[in-house]
């Protein structure tokens, strides 16, 4: 039994790596935030293009491609192929940069779908009112539809951010020293898994509050809409 506990909770084995693990988790957070920025911006562009003219088909193709292909595969393809491309900037991208760009590209597809649901949930009368005032399609989207849509999809957007943060662990496969990469490397030296336990704790400390906040927002929204429990006899 002692050996079982020792395997996961041997603090002496993990102590020398705590600094590296903390730095690794900082890398994780940076990648998550940068990827989220890309995904939020690109996702919104895709969601809006999805409702406009012929470019709609390009937007749909993009969204479906990245929803269908594993993020891990996207990261690996970018990481192994980019250094051989004779394209400035692209050929010099580091693993860290490929990590947040790749995850940003993938999550833009999910987030575009979230925005789309939000845009479609805004009452048609809003568009009609704006257009009847002489506003163009573009002005209507920017000033009337998108602001209302974004507010409505805040909970699912946060949900995707949590999922994205967890998927940052994938970058350990392309030689980025995120918290998972650091923990694995240490485990390979010590044959003890406590560094991985520490990685789990880092994740819990970061994501559980997000999940908690998310639940609060949803609960508040439900109250605002006056949806209580249905009374049973």
């Amino acid at each position: 039994m002692d050996e079982v506990i020792q395997q996961y909770f041997d603090w002496d084995a993990a102590r020398p790596y705590l600094g590296d693990l903390a730095r690794g988790f900082w890398v994780t957070i940076q990648i998550a935030l940068l990827a989220e920025l890309i995904a939020l911006a690109l996702g919104l562009v895709l969601a809006v293009l999805r409702r406009a003219g012929w470019v709609r088909f390009l937007a749909i193709a993009y969204i479906n491609f990245f929803r269908a292909v594993p993020a891990l595969l996207v990261l690996i393809v970018m990481y192994v192929s980019f250094p051989f491309l004779p394209i400035p900037v692209i050929e010099d991208l580091t693993g860290f940069q490929i990590g947040f760009i790749g995850l940003g590209l993938v999550y833009a597809a999910y987030i575009a779908e979230v925005y789309r649901a939000g845009i479609e949930s805004v009452d048609r009368g809003q568009t009609e009112a704006a257009r009847s005032l002489g506003m163009s399609h573009r002005q209507t989207m920017r000033l009337v539809i998108v602001p209302q849509a974004v507010r409505r999809v805040l909970p699912p957007l946060m949900n995707d951010f949590i999922a994205l943060t967890k998927d940052v662990a994938l970058v350990s496969v392309i030689a980025v020293q995120d918290v998972v990469g650091v923990a694995r490397d240490a485990q390979a030296v010590t044959f003890n898994s406590t560094t991985l336990t520490v990685a789990v704790v880092f994740y819990l400390v970061f994501t559980l509050p997000l999940i908690w906040i998310l639940d609060r927002i949803i609960a508040r929204e439900q109250r605002r809409l006056g949806r209580g429990e249905i009374v049973s006899p």
Binding site: A129, S132, G134, S136, V144, Q148
Partner: protein, 244 residues
């Protein structure tokens, strides 16, 4: 100048015909009320006039400009035709004042400060000067509808379209909205009013149209049409409405 003219308007959805050839001429300063049973095409007629729905056939003119022309500046023409809806459709994420300034600033390029001042004047005109900073959700239906009228007026329209604007209101709130419309009509605004308010129609409008099955069945001075309808269908409709 700012008259509204429609010629041969037809609107079909698949093989369902909603408008079956409507001709309409509303002179500048004229107030025209449109009555008729639900599904008669009244709302569709209004929505075709500002091209929220594109007519299947026929042409619409605002003044001497054709809205249905292939290269017509539709957004610009729409901005000169105010529309008020049954369901208000205020922008819930903005304050009342912002609801009034959004289009003047973004479409007309009006200076924000100037737009605000004008908006305050319009809110005073509809009796809601003290609600400028509120969000629409905090207003009663009648107040929201008056804001919606002020919002349309903020674009300084040549004419106004009203689509059953009191139908979603509690009875005691209807009067405030009708009073605003009465005042507008008195000030010489060109108006097309789809309504179920027979009292308002009788008292305010210059001409009354009765629509049924996508066509104008009868039209004339409101007192004539209401008191002595010529058509059987008009008579039947009125006896049902006035009995209620």
């Amino acid at each position: 100048m700012s008259s509204i003219r429609a010629a041969g308007l037809v609107k079909r959805y698949g093989d369902h015909t909603v408008l079956a050839g409507v001709d309409l001429h509303v002179a500048e300063g004229e107030v025209v009320c449109v009555i008729g049973p639900s599904g008669s095409g009244k709302s569709t007629l209004l929505r075709c006039l500002n091209l929220l729905e594109r007519p299947t056939e026929g042409r619409v003119f605002l003044g001497d400009q054709e809205m249905t022309a292939p290269d017509a500046p539709v957004d610009d023409l729409r901005s000169r035709l105010g529309m008020v809806f049954q369901s208000f459709n205020l922008f819930p994420h903005r304050t009342v004042l912002d609801n009034l300034t959004m289009a003047p600033v973004s479409v007309r390029g009006l200076d924000r400060q100037e737009a605000r001042e004008r908006a305050r004047g319009l809110l005073a005109r509809v009796g809601l000067a003290d609600k400028a900073g509120e969000h629409p959700a905090r207003l009663s239906g009648g107040q929201q509808q008056r804001v919606a009228i002020a919002r349309a007026l903020a674009m300084d329209p040549a004419a106004m379209l009203f689509d059953e604007v009191t139908s979603a209101l509690d009875p005691e709130l209807v009067k405030d909205v009708l009073d605003v419309m009465r005042e507008l009509a008195g000030a010489g605004m060109t108006m097309i009013v789809v309504t179920h308010e027979m009292g308002f129609a009788r008292e305010v409008c210059d001409r009354l149209l009765f629509m049924d099955e996508g066509a104008i069945v009868e039209e004339g001075a409101p007192s004539d049409v209401l008191a002595a309808p010529k058509e059987e269908r008009t008579r039947r409709f009125l006896s049902r409405v006035l009995a209620a």
